[in-house]
Symmetry: D2
Subunit: 364 residues, 4 copies
């Protein structure tokens, strides 16, 4: 019977995988069972964020020391750049073990890779469909058939660079945007809608190219997508609850209506046994294995009726502003900032808000 294990490990640099290496050496992590690694790395989370590529390289070299190259290549490496404010760079290693872990239903993990995305499909319905198919494949991999049992879908998607645009131009193909920074948002947007389609939150036929990255009334409550320069396809990880899995871990999710809407997250924590009126105490903090969240600046330039300036700041991208700000709100709730806040929540939760997943250890 599968058992999901989740290891949150601090990183002292984008290529510091020593903590994972130590856990493998100590037998706490079995590399043959590693399904995915999510990483918060300290770059700008934008087009020229090389911390992600550096992290991916270090992780690949690490796993190739312990696994056949082909097996190492199967591990989803989802690097999300940007640790603004007090956010702590860290790895979240998702492992699939076997045995009788007791409590059930328990956390279940599934994964899938899509083929390479033609650059001209980026940010369009073609990408939505490719992602939806990938999410369904990942659900099958997790042994989850009911979309209601899925609490979070993490996707790493590609972006456009000046060179990739030129490549598409050379083929006479027209890309959705020539603005490389904007391409990150379009790719996140199409990928999120792909999740919504796979989970039955939005009917496929309701979505047109024009709505991608534009019609914010369309959104998924469980999608988290992140774009990076280091890949040209999609890497997909689904997280849910399943009776066919066992173990002490459980997952739940919430949707923040805006960047400071922490009460639904407080309720999700309570549903998993971590109820608290104020900030989580040290004991509760120890049971919180991982907190995954999205952040973005609301497109109307307002937060609860007051103006924010994130969209008008040409020195700092709005995604960087939003990550640090939302991380502060969530850290104030749970009592530490080693949390995974990923920027750019296009179609991920309502405009200005975003989905949040909490993974808790129910043992003792």
């Amino acid at each position: 019977m599968p058992i999901a294990r989740v290891h949150r490990i601090s990183a002292s640099a984008p290529n510091d995988v020593s903590g994972i290496e130590t856990a493998i050496a100590a037998g706490r992590i079995d590399p043959t069972g590693v399904v995915a690694v999510l990483g918060k790395t300290e770059g700008n989370g934008l087009v020229n964020d090389f911390s992600r590529g550096l992290a991916t390289t270090a992780l690949t070299l690490l796993f190739e020391r312990h696994l056949p190259k082909a097996d190492a290549a199967q591990i989803c490496l989802v690097m999300s750049g940007g640790t603004e404010g007090g956010m702590a760079p860290h790895w979240i290693v998702f492992e699939r073990g076997e045995g009788e872990g007791g409590a059930s239903p328990s956390l279940a993990i599934g994964r899938a890779h899509t083929p390479a995305l033609p650059f001209e499909h980026l940010g369009r319905v073609a990408e939505v469909e490719q992602v939806a198919a990938g999410v369904r494949a990942a659900m099958r991999d997790a042994g989850i058939s009911d979309p209601a049992d899925i609490h979070f879908v993490q996707i790493k998607c590609p972006l456009l660079t000046a060179q990739r645009i030129a490549e598409a131009d050379a083929r006479g193909a027209s890309v959705a945007t020539r603005d490389t920074l904007k391409s990150m948002g379009l790719s996140r947007a199409a990928s999120a809608l792909g999740v919504a389609v796979a989970l039955g939150e939005i009917a496929r036929e309701k979505i047109t190219d024009a709505q991608v990255g534009a019609d914010w009334s369309l959104w998924s409550g469980r999608a988290s997508t992140s774009s990076g320069i280091e890949l040209v396809n999609h890497e997909i990880v689904v997280l849910g609850m399943s009776k066919s899995w066992s173990g002490p871990l459980a997952i739940n999710h919430a949707v923040m209506a805006d960047g400071i809407d922490i009460e639904p997250v407080r309720a999700a924590l309570a549903r998993l046994g971590l109820g608290a009126s104020g900030q989580l105490d040290v004991a509760q903090r120890g049971k919180l294995v991982a907190l995954l969240s999205k952040a973005e600046a609301s497109h109307d330039g307002l937060l609860r009726g007051h103006r924010h300036t994130m969209l008008d700041d040409s020195d700092i991208a709005s995604t960087r502003h939003a990550r640090g700000f939302v991380c502060g709100a969530l850290a104030g709730l749970v009592g530490h900032a080693e949390i995974y806040v990923s920027g750019g929540a296009e179609h991920q939760g309502p405009d200005g808000g975003g989905p949040v997943a909490v993974i808790v250890d129910r043992s003792n």
Copy 2:
């Protein structure tokens, strides 16, 4: 009998004083009573933040339309640049009225201006002493003799620019630093120590030049200092409680031990009648007139044992990171982000933390 009035007014741009103009026209603000205006403006809060100068110019022109130039010049204009994350640009107008306001003790306000600071004194004991004398003058102005009755001291202090350094060089005077960005921190540091000396938190003789901006074990729990390019002296505003003042407003303060230490702030709100287990509700939010706070990155690079990257980010100054992050934590507590978070908390609260003041309307 003096009555303190505090008006929090949104700004749509650094020079948007229309909200204040409207309040004056409607008789809600009597310009002759205005003691100070605190402004959160949307610049970078660093050396080349021109949003502060633009705001100061607009406010000066506004008050000169309603007051004799000499009187307008008496109003302390403390512009704090930087509205990172969801922070809303806004003005906080402090007004001293006369009459019988009921409830007592009540919020009391005092102010003072220091002479111009010789650039070579910046960041040194000479600045500490000039500021301490200024705080005492402001306390006299507020009619407060016991330092224990002071809950917050807001100071705007000068900084060095390449030209000011050259000017000091020309006089053969040696400045404390040739790094203009660093000069902002040294000036905030010396000013905060000046408050600590005036409030009896630190004995003057305990402080040497070498400790300014270096020995973080020395701090004030009620100082908030902010540096700006647009002035060469200090503008000081003290806020406290006094039996000789009346009116519905009350102030209290808390000290955050780090950037996410919101429970002491929750307690301060409760002491003023705004107790809440989770986020303040809409009704409570309406009674919160103003929230003033400091933010900074801890110098050991850690937040509750986890690494933060604010000091290693050469693209975004740590003060910008810290403001947005701490604003998120506080906004999660009070339910909106039109709060005054000022960056650079050198000697203002413990390393990585900072003082917070809350002003509440006790009526009905």
Copy 3:
């Protein structure tokens, strides 16, 4: 007979107009004759560049001290933000005097203001047409009928902010882009095409909305447009040679094919008597009254076959990169960096290049 006078004056800050004040006091500048002031200010030249508003405010207050408000309001104030690299912040004051200045043909100046631009027209043919009409009006003001006699047209155009977009939305009008930074480029693009139409470089009917900011094969060799948050209409200044004007000043122009194509500028200087094989010597430098140029990153990501990274840098906008780089190339040619390089050359010269104007004093 009109005589054009051009005064290049250094600024120590965005609101430092003391140099102009001094020149007026000394009688070197007659405020009643001032037609326009171009300013290079030290902000980021992007959406949240408040150095321009601060400069505009200071200049307005200055001229209102010397002229009736209505007359002061007629002066075109074209602030171009961004003094990257060694570029020196400065003012260029254009004055129209009367008398017999000798040499003819000589520099002639004309100006015009357009009505406010509805935000939904920004970046579209409607803006092209409004600007073309404005340029024709400015030519009439300069007394120049043949477009061939025009060497430079400087335009300051509006941009979109989150609030302006919301205002258009409220009216049910759809804006050309919701990306505020991108709106600056679209506005510069439409304004440049307006110049091309007015000067007969491109036929009006050849231009569609889709080509604005997209079809770089369309360009003007004499347009320089700059967008700013501080205005909602267009301010237009045309510079040319006219037999009906006299005086020692002459203007010529060149088109740089890319950011380092300085030889055409060397040739233009030679046409006005400043021939040099290497860098201009001190004597020649003294005769160069003003150098006005555009700069931008080529959209194919290449400079003479080598890759540049300006479009992939999410920390620094490409306009900031391009201004500093092109200023270096031109400063290497003329021997100082107090030159006016304005960013964003959409449809201003070929892709990656831009128009350059040189104004020389022919006396002695």
Copy 4:
């Protein structure tokens, strides 16, 4: 008889070593002869520039595919981050071959690695001395005994991070600065003085800790130092002319007095046969193998009497401004921007200027 070969190869990303791989496969580069690789990578060139680490990793993996690990580890990898403006990311591979290359004297290459630098020595005389010893070792490696025959010394030196400072603190050692960005400048400064000492430009006993990074009257005309987070020791490469080497390549150098002082560089090119009155023509450009330069903002805030704003810009570090600006000046001279401009010229050339080296192919 040794023959120096220098290969300038474009990079499409920080980890794109395909051009070098291709040259090895084609036999143009013999990996066993590679002494050093200089790389211009597209990060910010500051503390959190991960493009350098990514490049170093890719180069190391490349050479380990062709050489024993121990030999690969001997190759000096000097990555200089920051390709502002139009600067093209590229590699410069320095190879030592054997045979009879004809022309002599010819370019000679030598290298050395220093031991790890204790973090508390960074920016102090102890670092100066460690570097001076390293330069002498590299001269011996090149077979050059007369310092007059050395035209350029490239050094990669370490910097401080929050963690490294904490590590020194833990040992009770006091570092020269706690400002990580400033530590880059101090390390470059001490390394440059080390070169000056080794080349006899400055007497060792003339240098005190207080002058490092402060007394700009002390400088080397041939040092180029660059700091990076990815190493804790120094990598040193010396370039000179030697009768004991043969081959078509020759090197010469110039010292720019400020950021636009290109005439001395024009003269150095002429000394190697590339005389030109204007910009180099295509044929001459083809003979220019490599151009290496330093850039920095002058500390008095002036360039030829006009103010620059590089030191007052808190959004963009002055090193980024200076690299893009100086690259523009040099590219205007040589006609392309695939040149190696390294930021931070503390004690490398006079204040605000810097050393420049040109390597030319004299064949046909």
